[in-house]
Symmetry: C2
Subunit: 356 residues, 2 copies
Amino acid sequence: MGVLNKRIAVLAGDGIGPEVCQEAVRVLKAVSEKFGHEFTFDRQPMGACAIEATGDPLPDQTLEACYLADAILLGAIGDPKYDNNPAAKVRPEQGLLKLRKSLGLYANIRPVTAYEVLLPYSPLKDARIAGADMLFFRELTGGIYFGEKGRIADSAYDHCTYSRFEIARIAHLAFKAAQNRRGKLTLVDKANVLETSRLWREVVQEISPSYPDVAVDYLFVDNAAMQLILNPKQFDVILTENMFGDILSDEASVIAGSLGLLPSASVGETAALFEPIHGSYPQAKGKNIANPIAMILSAAMMLEHFGLQQEADLVRRSVQVALDKKIVTQDLTPPTLAYSTEQVGAFIAYCVLGGA
Amino acid sequence: MGVLNKRIAVLAGDGIGPEVCQEAVRVLKAVSEKFGHEFTFDRQPMGACAIEATGDPLPDQTLEACYLADAILLGAIGDPKYDNNPAAKVRPEQGLLKLRKSLGLYANIRPVTAYEVLLPYSPLKDARIAGADMLFFRELTGGIYFGEKGRIADSAYDHCTYSRFEIARIAHLAFKAAQNRRGKLTLVDKANVLETSRLWREVVQEISPSYPDVAVDYLFVDNAAMQLILNPKQFDVILTENMFGDILSDEASVIAGSLGLLPSASVGETAALFEPIHGSYPQAKGKNIANPIAMILSAAMMLEHFGLQQEADLVRRSVQVALDKKIVTQDLTPPTLAYSTEQVGAFIAYCVLGGA
Ligand SMILES: [Mg+2]
Ligand SMILES: [Mg+2]
């Protein structure tokens, strides 16, 4: 891969978002310095900070910058001021929902990795969780969350719908990812009960012969909820519909021991957004104590999305060095031994440049 | 409570069902001997054994016996012969589904208790799971599993519907149970997205003032999937709709360390069925090694349902004595120290009679 020129929209957002975004940008600058790529960063407001400034959680100018960008880096969105006010008409989260919809981000991709240093923080016993490494593909724009809903007399309803097209496009992404990993794909559904699940199974079965190097298995969602705890190591790529993915990827995220290390990507036909799975953590805002690693690993997913596999691997190895050397924030070590957000980011950037 | 006369339909079923049922009946006979109750046991075929005998997994005669009974004790249903044969027209599980439907069993009730002796078997670290004790109320006859479903062109659909009546009747059961426990009820829903969830929340909020001694809180289903692992001790009674209950009660069941200890009840307006949550475990059939405790604790739930609180408590205490003295089957102890199914049942019956 030659030298690239990429435009990156940076939506730092609220709470600790700006602090962790700054460290991701620092690491990306180290990557561009080392490999000669040209990254342009276009900083734009979204969320509570955008409401303050413009009254709109997703101003037109921000949305336009996202359309123009090759990828979007998002920090975190949300402020307690809005959470605790049920009368608030405009909410920071609306900006993110509108952004996902406007960009057609139909696949949410979430790795869950059991880092050695995190084992003491996992709620699972070490032997269960050590070595787990899975990758969720959650459909993000269909299913019951986006179906017709309403009231009739004394009843309420929600409709779940999936088309072959919606299933096939994310299934292909998941199969391709499995080819680059351990060659296993697990479809999670409830095909013994739901018609939409039977369609998911049909489409995956039809696509499967095109990926002969990927072994496919099927798990009912209730069993999957058990297996994630009983034996998380059995999973490689997990493919599932929107609501099941919401529940299971959140369940899986806590078994790794820290939300502060887990990145995510949301991709569409022409756009891609990268963000940590943690929230805006307003209590830590401005204190220089937030863990920037999930954000930095989100930037690594972005590099991979650009086809920069070597660069992505280097960022991940640099993160691993920081973890191994315990150059980590106070969520992962006693306060007296903890480093600041900036120090952790600077160390990882230093490693990227060949320093460690 | 005086002396009672109760007719109990016993559907021992398949695999280890008959063996564990025999021990539950043994314990119930000890209870009737000690307290002077008259229990009549009406044994009827259901499941694979009923298909062998009559071609029907739920013969009319069995269904009739269930209508006549004050309660139903069910062992386990299922045989690999049918699981591995997709062409099989009649399946053992159909008998159970038809029975639940015929009897209108709308509430599935499942306790999850972290027994001290099971801590080494739990996938969670001891400090997380020790002391956890929760009770699920899962709606069992509504929601997306029973909604209209089908195909239109290249799409599939499943409809989720709930009425106020369906929600209110199980909510009242859950509130009453919370009054007799630690006075906390958690409604799990996805009210930020689903209209049916908003109706659940409305109905629970309307009912709540009638139970001023019960504190109610609300949790989104994805967060609940995390909290069950992060801090299971926070839960007392958990109330939820059919599909969320399917996923979360299965997730919760594995954190306790053994499915062999978990009972359940399914109740309707006029009928009640008690069964262990484990399956028919065909590999262990006839070997006298199956753990009978989940079945015996299901019988204890039945006693409680009859209003026999003292009797139910005695059975539970007797089970605790067996666990404490390690008079348990080989799933909970090294094989050389293990007792047989019959020995465990006999010891618990002996305790009930005042022997230990
Ligand atoms: Mg979620
Ligand atoms: Mg289930």
